[in-house]
Structure formats: structure tokens, C-alpha cells
């Protein structure tokens, strides 16, 4: 309740206080304090003291949490009036031109949604154009339904692990599953979240315009066949589609992308997964739990490229080696033919370096998880002289779109997968919020290094910031020292209570000033654990300070506690206790 109180107070004073969401954040942090007015001015000052990326501050609460927050529904009507006030005043001060909207967002995925919500909060009259279904990839064909499948696979795996069950003293007889039931769970979850998303925008007064959005010219967008709307600022948030390399024929049945796989229309005995990134890994977790055997095909020499090598190695030992999975690394799948006339799916492999044919696989199904390609079809980029780079919309660090000549296109922004900076739902949302901050008069650059990422295998993998090799490279270039602290889940009471001691957390930091460069976690609930680290990076909190923060015992969060305490920093804590609280 304090949360909502702080929020509404902040909202009513929206135009007066510049760092409004910052103050909301403070309200949430100090939830025991009822006097927000005191805190609002004090925090920005603190921030400037910290001096580090204050611009990143305040936007870390992600749009995810927001969309389902029903307390918010009461606010909109009041705020909408405010919104029009703001836009009117802007009109008075600026070019005397009236637009249909202050902000139009093309694409109602998680990025667009996050931007829309923040825009309304900032008092902008906002519309969102969607040519398909609200929710975009994440909600309909990505993170959301895959979590439903992974929830099932996690339980299946646990129930099937006789050893694990026995160790806990449990007896479970013949765990089985109903494919359609599992598929329905994923589909129902997607529908529910989609409705939540739609309702949250409607309730706030965001106009949802249905139809494909095309940019006709500066500040002018067409949607559907011939509806034209204008807006002061436009955000492109059209997202991405699964990337299918050439030579691969996707039939949606035996050769599939994540779009199809999430519908779980069948569980093949043997499925090849092309690409061992987080999409491929998550699906391998699902499929093996449901009884499939999996063959990974990875172009690079190692499975799980992109993860910190040490984490990748451990993950391979836990997630790949003991499971019914084999793999081919250093090979390209040049040709994949779907199953036809009783013939299995055939996959032709060539050596990634020599390009010589290496092998042919015959499997029951192939899942193409080679990444995602930006989706900008029909967006009308040519009308504003913007040329995509490898399909991505070129942007600067403030998500402002640049045209063919490298000049900024005024009033046009691009967020999310379409710009390719960091293809994660929450990154898109954070970028959207950053853009809204800018168009409402506060300069803002998002610190992408503070954006966490997670892979929801069992156990999970999560990371924020740099990997160890990246950190060392950077250290060499910039001339600072890097240290690494590690701790094992085997030392964590809660993990052992769950009989899930397999795991590692790794902290990469600067021993001279205590800056956190990266944190990587592999273990039980890693995805939930990473935020302590990502928030610390976003807020510029140093290890010597955060190590004094208290963690409840026994919890998994103590893994991070131990990590921070294991770090050896030369610097001393900056300000141990600012305001002593008597107990």
C-alpha cells in the first residue's frame, strides 16, 4: 500500500518534479516511511553524489510488473486530463501545430507497452498501433508461453528424477503428462497476459489502433488501409521474427521455429535444435523433460556461446551431458528438408570453417533457434530515407533513428528487437521508457550493462554486465584490475534443503573501487537472484557498500550475499549508515 501511496503522490506532482519515477522508486525502497515529500528532493541529490549513471536510475522497475498492477487502474482518468494539459502547453511553446497524439508507438509488444505506460504516466496522449496481436513476440510467441512449458518441464524433471525424490524421502509413481494439457497451459497463459496487457493500456487511456503501421513521413503514420494519424513523436517497436538461415525449409510441422514449438503440437522422439543459445537451451530443457532426445547443432566451436565461458562449461555439464542430448559443434546446417512421404527430416551439415560436407542427420523434427531477425516489413522506412543495417533500424545511444546519411531523423525513435541493441523484452521496455523520458524533456541514456538476462532452464542461468573475457579485455584497454569471486550453491542452506546444490555464482569486479562489472549465476532460481546485482549496477552501488546489506536466512539470496562478501575491495564503504534508525 505504501507503494501505491507513493506512486499516486508522485503522479499528481508529475509536472512539478522532474525525476518522478525516481521518487516513486524511493517510496518503494523506504516503504516504512510514510513521508514521501521528504524523500523526493533528497534522493536525486544522493544520486548526483554517486555520479554514476543517474540517468539509468528510476527506470529499472520493469514494465512487466507494471502491466499487471491493478492498483494503477484508478489513476488514469485524472492523469489523462493532465496529459492533454501538457501537450497543450507544449504546443503553445513550440511550433504551433496540433497533432493527433503526442506519441505514437508502432508495435504493441512488451517494448511498446512499456513505453506507452510510461508515456501516459508522463502525461502524453498516446496511441499504439498493432498489426497483429497485442503483446508481440514475448507474450504470444516467446518468453511467456515458453515459461509455461518450462514450468511443466521443471516439474516433470523433478518427478522423474527418482534419485532426487528418494533423497527427499518422496515417493512418486509414474509421472506422466498430457501433451494437449501442457499446450493449453502455455496458450492460456499467453491469452491471460495478452488480456492483462490490453486492459492495462485501455484502462490508462492508450488508444490501440489496429492495423499495420506505416511511416508516411515525418510525424505521420498510416495504419490499416487508409487511416492517417499524426504525432509529435513516433517510436518504432516492431520487434523481430525467428531468423531462418537460407537452405532451411520451415514447414511448421517437422521443421519449426520457436513460434511453432511453443504450440507443442507434437513431441518428437528425436529433435535437432539448430543453435544452442538461450532459445535452443530452453527448448532442449522442455523437450528432454517430455521424453524427446535432442541433438544440438552449433556453428561455433562451443555450445552456449555468449554465456560466460565458465558458466557455459558448468551448464553444459549439468544441462547437456547427463541428458539425452548430443551435439555437433563447428558446423552449419546448410540444408534442412522437412519430413515427407515417410522420409525423416534430413539435415545436411558442413564444417563451419572448411565448408566441407560433414554429416547428414535424419531426425524426426528440427527446431530452428538460430536467433531472431528484426521485423520492419511495411514500416515505410524508405519514406524517411532510413536504410536498415542487416535488417536493424540504425539508432544512436538515445534510440534516435538515423537516416541513410547518418543524420538523426527528428521525432523518430526505435526500440527493442528492431534496433538490435539488446534483443530482450525488458530491454525494449527500458529503452521505451528512456525515449519517453527524453521526449518529455529529460535527457536519458540507458545503461545496457545493467540489463539482466536469463535463461530459464532447470536450473536457471542468469547474467548481467560483462563476461569474464569481456571484462578482462576492457580492463586491459582501460588499465584497471579485474578480480573474480565465486561461490557455490553447495554452500547455500536453502539450495541444499531443496536438494539443488548444483550451481555457481560468479562476480567480476574491480578490486580498486568495488565496481561490479558482471555477475553470472547458474543455479536454482538464478533468474530471480540476478536483480540484486543488476540493480546494484544500475544504481552504481559498490561492493563495499552492498556487502553490508542484510539477507534473510536461509534464502537463496545469500548466494549473492556470500559473493559480495567474498570480494576483496581496497576501497572502504562510502557512507555506512546515513540515518540511524532506532529499534
Amino acid at each position: 500500500m505504501h507503494y501505491s501511496a507513493a506512486f499516486s503522490q508522485a503522479a499528481t506532482s508529475a509536472t512539478a518534479v522532474p525525476t518522478i519515477s525516481g521518487s516513486r522508486h524511493v517510496g518503494a525502497l523506504h516503504s516504512s516511511s510514510s513521508s514521501c515529500t521528504l524523500l523526493i528532493p533528497s534522493k536525486p541529490i544522493n544520486l548526483r553524489f554517486c555520479g554514476l549513471r543517474r540517468e539509468a536510475f528510476g527506470f529499472s522497475p520493469s514494465a512487466f510488473t507494471r502491466c499487471s498492477n491493478s492498483q494503477r487502474v484508478q489513476l488514469p482518468s485524472r492523469r489523462r486530463f493532465k496529459g492533454s494539459n501538457v501537450s497543450a502547453s507544449l504546443g503553445d511553446n513550440g511550433i504551433p501545430k496540433s497533432f493527433d497524439y503526442d506519441l505514437i508507438i508502432i508495435g504493441a509488444g512488451v517494448g511498446g507497452h512499456g513505453a506507452a505506460l510510461h508515456a501516459v504516466e508522463k502525461g502524453l496522449k498516446t496511441a499504439i498501433i498493432e498489426g497483429d496481436v497485442v503483446g508481440g513476440t514475448c507474450v504470444n510467441r516467446g518468453c511467456v508461453p515458453s515459461k509455461a512449458l518450462l514450468a511443466v518441464s521443471g516439474r516433470m524433471r523433478e518427478l522423474q528424477s527418482e534419485h532426487h525424490m528418494k533423497a527427499l524421502g518422496l515417493q512418486v509413481h509414474a509421472a506422466g503428462y498430457d501433451r494437449q494439457g501442457v499446450a493449453d497451459h502455455a496458450n492460456n497463459l499467453a491469452t491471460k497476459i495478452r488480456n492483462n496487457l490490453t486492459n492495462s493500456m485501455k484502462a490508462l487511456g492508450v488508444d490501440i489502433l489496429t492495423g499495420v503501421g506505416t511511416i508516411l513521413g515525418p510525424q505521420k503514420v498510416k495504419f490499416g488501409t487508409d487511416n492517417i494519424v499524426t504525432a509529435k513523436d513516433i517510436i518504432i517497436a516492431t520487434g523481430s521474427v525467428p531468423f531462418v538461415p537460407k537452405g532451411i525449409e520451415v514447414d511448421g510441422k517437422t521443421v519449426i521455429t520457436s513460434d511453432h514449438a511453443l504450440k507443442l503440437e507434437f513431441v518428437p522422439d528425436w529433435i535437432a535444435i539448430v543453435g544452442s543459445g538461450y532459445i535452443g537451451l530452453e527448448f532442449s530443457d522442455v523437450y528432454t523433460a517430455l521424453g524427446s532426445e535432442v541433438t544440438f547443432i552449433e556453428a561455433l566451436d562451443q555450445l552456449m556461446p555468449g554465456f560466460d565461458p565458465e558458466i557455459g562449461k558448468l551448464a553444459q555439464r549439468v544441462l547437456v551431458n547427463p541428458r539425452k542430448i548430443d551435439y555437433h559443434t563447428g558446423v552449419f546446417a546448410t540444408k534442412i528438408t522437412p519430413a515427407k512421404d515417410g522420409k525423416p527430416v534430413t539435415i545436411e551439415l558442413i564444417d563451419a570453417k572448411t565448408k566441407e560436407p560433414k554429416d547428414t542427420l535424419e531426425v524426426d523434427a528440427a527446431l530452428i533457434a538460430t536467433g531472431r531477425a528484426p521485423f520492419t516489413n511495411g514500416l515505410g522506412l524508405e519514406n524517411i530515407n532510413v536504410v536498415t543495417q542487416r535488417g536493424f533500424v540504425p539508432v544512436d545511444e538515445r534510440m534516435r533513428v538515423t537516416d541513410a546519411n547518418g543524420n538523426l531523423v527528428p521525432h523518430l525513435y526505435c526500440i527493442g528487437d528492431a534496433n538490435g541493441k539488446m534483443m530482450l523484452a525488458h530491454a525494449a521496455s527500458a529503452q521505451g521508457i528512456s525515449v519517453v523520458e527524453q521526449v518529455t524533456g529529460r535527457d536519458h541514456v540507458l545503461n545496457h550493462l545493467s540489463i539482466p538476462a536469463a535463461c530459464f532452464t532447470h536450473p536457471e542461468i542468469s547474467m548481467v554486465g560483462l563476461t569474464e573475457p569481456q571484462a578482462r579485455e576492457k580492463a586491459e584497454k582501460e588499465g584497471f584490475e579485474v578480480s573474480v569471486a565465486k561461490t557455490s550453491f553447495k554452500a547455500n542452506t536453502k539450495a541444499l534443503a531443496e536438494n539443488e546444490g548444483e550451481g555457481l555464482a560468479k562476480l567480476i569486479y574491480r578490486p580498486d573501487n568495488g565496481e561490479i562489472l558482471g555477475v553470472h549465476i547458474f543455479g536454482l532460481h538464478a533468474a530471480d537472484l540476478i536483480h540484486e546485482a543488476s540493480n546494484a549496477i544500475a544504481l552504481g552501488t559498490r561492493i563495499q557498500d552492498i556487502k553490508f546489506a542484510v539477507h534473510a536466512h536461509p534464502t537463496l539470496s545469500e548466494v549473492l550475499d556470500e559473493l559480495f562478501k567474498a570480494a576483496k575491495v581496497k576501497d572502504h564503504a562510502s557512507n555506512p549508515v546515513s540515518e540511524p534508525v532506532a529499534v
Binding site: 509413481h173 509414474a174 522422439d269 528425436w270 532426445e293 535432442v294 541433438t295 565461458p309 565458465e310 562449461k313 558448468l314 555439464r317 539425452k324 542430448i325 548430443d326 551435439y327 555437433h328 559443434t329 522420409k343 525423416p344 554429416d359 547428414t360 535424419e362 524426426d364 569474464e468 573475457p469 578482462r472 584490475e481 579485474v482 578480480s483 573474480v484 569471486a485 557455490s488 553447495k490 554452500a491 555457481l504 578490486p511 567474498a566 570480494a567 576483496k568
Partner: protein
């Protein structure tokens, strides 16, 4: 300066590094001695409480060049898995403790050769160091540690196919015909684990794909490669690794210990059966077929004896009566199966049996021909054995041990003494599903059938 030389995997000069250094492999060989070029890599102490460590995986394989600071092996201690790094440059000459093996802290787990030429020397040394005393003479400072090793390292047990192990499961090996072998990932994993050569496994999956159960079947039967174990000469006092078949038998036997079994014996008069056998022997009927047939007919009346319990929670009344008969083949034992023995007539059954035995000798049995039995017969009567006890094969409900039929002096009910041919049978059954009364009444039925064998020929 040291940190400049180190790779990215070894963080440099932080306090943590110093902690890391305790994980660096301690390698023996005093540096002052110029000729000590082969060093032993010891199981490091990763924590103060660690007494032994398990090798999770060798990051590098034999023959690899190692640079100081590189990860060589992953060791699981009582607390965590740790990458262990080498402190010297050199070549990994010999891995002495394989993956999955356990070694006590301070014992040698591998040999490091300084140059490529010394790899062979190191390997020879490893082979020679079956007794732990030889390395202790090598250097004085390592002697104590080495002497503390309670048992010689099991390098001799290491199997002779390191290549297959290191390649991982990635490539399809080609069979003699140059044809690709299609095997599912789990089948390949199992094949590696059970040491089954995929080239000799016949697949039962789609398009002849080898799937896990084919490998399991191959491991259980002799179809896989056992040829190597020739009877040529037995080297006394040598450690002989199990052949695939021996391994499979061993696993099955150990597995059978999890099944609570009991035995019921019965003496059956075989005069009538012997007479029948004499009569139809010329038509190619064998005693084995007769016994199988009789057993099958008895099983028809006692389906519970033909049931099997696999998971300990439920059991299945098998839909067909498949009589497996144990046959000794060189280097082991196999159980060809007479399928639907209750339905086939005795002549067909006999022909089938001959066919199966021929195939078994030629090692050509298909998995379904030796692993689909629902009831097993084991007959040692031909050796003059009058009674014995069989171990229940896992996955079946009962096995019957058949002794020799011998002339016996018996007292008959009418108070006379006479001579009858009698044989003793002894059934071992899974008491989870088959109870004493079940077996007893089954044996009673069987005795009736054998003592009045008209039904055997229809």
C-alpha cells in the same frame, strides 16, 4: 609480472587469486633436479576438509600441450566443483584417474611430460608404477604424499579406446559398408556407457534408427562385440575387463538383487514324456521344445506366473507366452526366445528352436529374439545336474531350473516300490507378484501336463 602471462581464466593478482592458487595443481619433481622432467599431477586439496576428490571431467586429454595456468581437470570436492589449473608448461602424458574416478588428496592423478618426446616415457612410467613405491623413489619431497596413497591407481582398468571417448558423441561412425549409422542421441550415450559398438546393433526405430532400447538389448545379449574375448589362452593372475556381454550379465545379476525372490521345487515323473520324445524325436522334435511347450501350456492356466513387475508399483499380465531358454555360448550366456510357445505346435516350435540356436551360435540373434521372454527355462540336466537354483532375470516373473531326469526308486501309492524316471524342477519367482500358492499350483499343472503329455502334440 606474473599476471601478464596468465590467461583470462586465471584472474590475476587479486586477493582472490591467491585463494585460487591453492587450487593450482601441485606437481612433484624438485626443480633443482634437472632430469626430473616428468611430473606427477596430484589431487589438490580444494578445501580444508577435503580428503578425497572426484574427477568430474578432464578438460584436456592425453597428448595435449598445457600452458601454465590452464584448466586441466575439474574436480569435485566435498563443497564444490573446481577447475584445477596446471602450474607448469608441458604435455599431459598420462591420465591416471579417469573421469568419475576418486582419488585421495595428494595422490597422483596424471603425469605431465615436459616435452613431447617424454610422453611415451611418462606413459611407460605410469604403466610401471602399478606399485606405489616406484614414484616415491623419484623425488624425496613427494614421497610421503605418494606413500599415503592407499591403493594403486586404476590405470590398468582404463579402456583402450580413448579416441572414442574424447570425440564425444558427435560423429556417426561408418560401418564396413560405408553406410552411415543412425542412432539417437541417447542411444549413442548408452552405447558409450555400456561399451556397445553401434555398428553391430540393429535399430528398431523409424527407418532402422538405433534407439536406446536397441543398445540396451545389445548390451544384454551377445549380438554386440564379444568376439575379442577368444578362448585362446587364459592369462592367470591378470585383470580382465568385462566383455560387453559379461558387463551386461553382471548388471542384470546385480539388478536382480533388488527383486525379492523365493523358490518352489517339484519332482515330476517323466516316463510318459520320455516315451513321447522317443516317438517323435525322428520328426525333429527336441526335448527343449517339449519342455517349453509343456511350460507354456501350464502358463496358460496360470497367467500370474507369466506376469512381470518392472517398476515395483504395478505388474503386467503378459499378453503372449514367450519362453526364453538359456543357452551357453562361448564367452557367455544367451536366452533365445520361443515366442507364443503355447500357440505354436511342437514341430514348428522345434524347428524354430533349432533356428534360434544356430543363430545364437553365429551371434546373429536379433534383439527381439533374445529379450522378449516372459518366462525362462534353464536346463542343466545334460550335465547330470539333478537340481539347482536359477537367478531371476530382471523384468520377468519366474525362471525354472530343470534338472536331469533320472531313474529313481519310488514308493507308489499302492504300497509298492518301483522305478520311475523323475526330474526335479525348481522355480524362482518374483514374490512381489507371484505367491507361493501360485507357483505351487502352476507346478502341479505342469507336472500333470508332463505326466500326461498328450496335449503337447495336440
Amino acid at each position: 609480472m606474473a599476471h601478464l602471462l596468465q590467461t583470462t581464466f586465471l584472474p590475476s593478482s587479486s586477493p582472490l587469486i591467491r585463494r585460487n592458487q591453492t587450487y593450482i595443481l601441485r606437481i612433484s619433481g624438485s626443480r633443482t633436479r634437472v632430469n626430473a622432467k616428468i611430473r606427477e599431477i596430484f589431487m589438490p586439496a580444494l578445501s580444508s576438509t577435503m580428503t578425497e576428490g572426484k574427477i568430474v571431467s578432464w578438460v584436456r586429454s592425453e597428448g595435449d600441450k598445457l600452458c601454465k595456468g590452464e584448466s586441466v581437470v575439474v574436480v569435485e570436492s566435498d563443497k564444490a566443483d573446481m577447475d584445477v589449473e596446471t602450474f607448469y608448461d608441458g604435455y599431459l602424458a598420462k591420465i591416471m584417474v579417469d573421469e568419475g574416478g576418486v582419488a585421495s588428496v595428494g595422490s597422483a592423478i596424471a603425469l605431465l611430460a615436459e616435452s613431447e618426446d617424454e610422453i611415451a616415457e611418462a606413459q611407460a612410467k605410469a604403466a610401471a608404477s602399478g606399485s606405489p613405491s616406484s614414484p616415491s623413489s623419484e623425488t624425496s619431497n613427494s614421497a610421503a604424499v605418494v606413500a599415503a596413497v592407499p591403493h594403486p591407481q586404476p590405470e590398468k582398468v582404463k579402456l583402450a579406446e580413448p579416441a572414442a571417448v574424447t570425440v564425444g558423441s558427435a560423429v556417426h561412425p561408418a560401418s564396413e559398408g560405408g553406410k552411415r549409422i543412425v542412432a539417437s542421441p541417447y542411444a549413442k550415450k548408452l552405447a558409450k556407457e555400456l561399451k556397445v559398438e553401434l555398428a553391430r546393433v540393429v535399430g528398431s526405430g523409424p527407418k532402422g534408427r538405433i534407439v536406446a532400447k536397441d543398445v540396451e538389448a545389445a548390451a544384454a545379449g551377445p549380438a554386440a562385440s564379444v568376439a575379442a574375448a577368444g578362448p585362446a589362452g587364459i592369462e592367470l593372475a591378470s585383470v580382465v575387463p568385462f566383455t560387453t556381454m559379461q558387463g551386461a550379465v553382471s548388471r542384470n545379476m546385480v539388478e536382480s538383487l533388488a527383486v525379492p525372490t523365493f523358490r518352489v521345487g517339484y519332482t515330476i515323473t517323466t516316463d510318459a514324456l520320455d516315451a513321447l520324445y522317443k516317438k517323435i524325436k525322428s520328426k525333429g522334435v527336441t526335448m527343449t521344445a517339449l519342455l517349453a511347450k509343456a511350460t507354456a501350456l501350464a502358463l496358460v492356466q496360470h497367467p500370474v506366473v507369466n506376469s512381470s513387475c518392472r517398476d515395483g508399483n504395478s505388474f503386467i499380465y503378459n499378453s503372449s507366452i514367450n519362453i526364453a531358454v538359456a543357452v551357453a555360448v562361448d564367452g557367455g550366456l544367451i536366452t533365445p526366445v520361443l515366442q507364443d510357445a503355447d500357440k505354436a505346435d511342437i514341430y514348428t516350435l522345434s524347428r524354430k528352436w533349432k533356428e534360434l540356436v544356430d543363430k545364437a551360435r553365429a551371434k546373429l540373434l536379433q534383439p527381439h529374439e533374445y529379450n522378449t521372454g516372459t518366462f525362462t527355462l534353464s536346463n542343466l540336466g545334460m550335465f547330470g545336474v539333478d537340481r539347482f537354483d536359477a537367478i531371476l532375470p530382471p523384468g520377468t516373473g519366474a525362471i525354472m531350473a530343470v534338472g536331469a531326469s533320472e531313474p529313481t526308486v519310488v514308493a507308489t501309492k499302492d504300497g509298492r516300490i518301483g522305478m520311475k524316471n523323475q526330474m526335479q524342477v525348481n522355480v524362482t519367482a518374483d514374490h512381489r507378484v507371484i505367491y507361493g500358492a501360485d507357483l505351487a499350483s502352476f507346478l502341479q499343472t505342469l507336472a500333470k501336463i508332463i505326466e500326461d503329455p498328450r496335449d503337447l502334440t495336440f
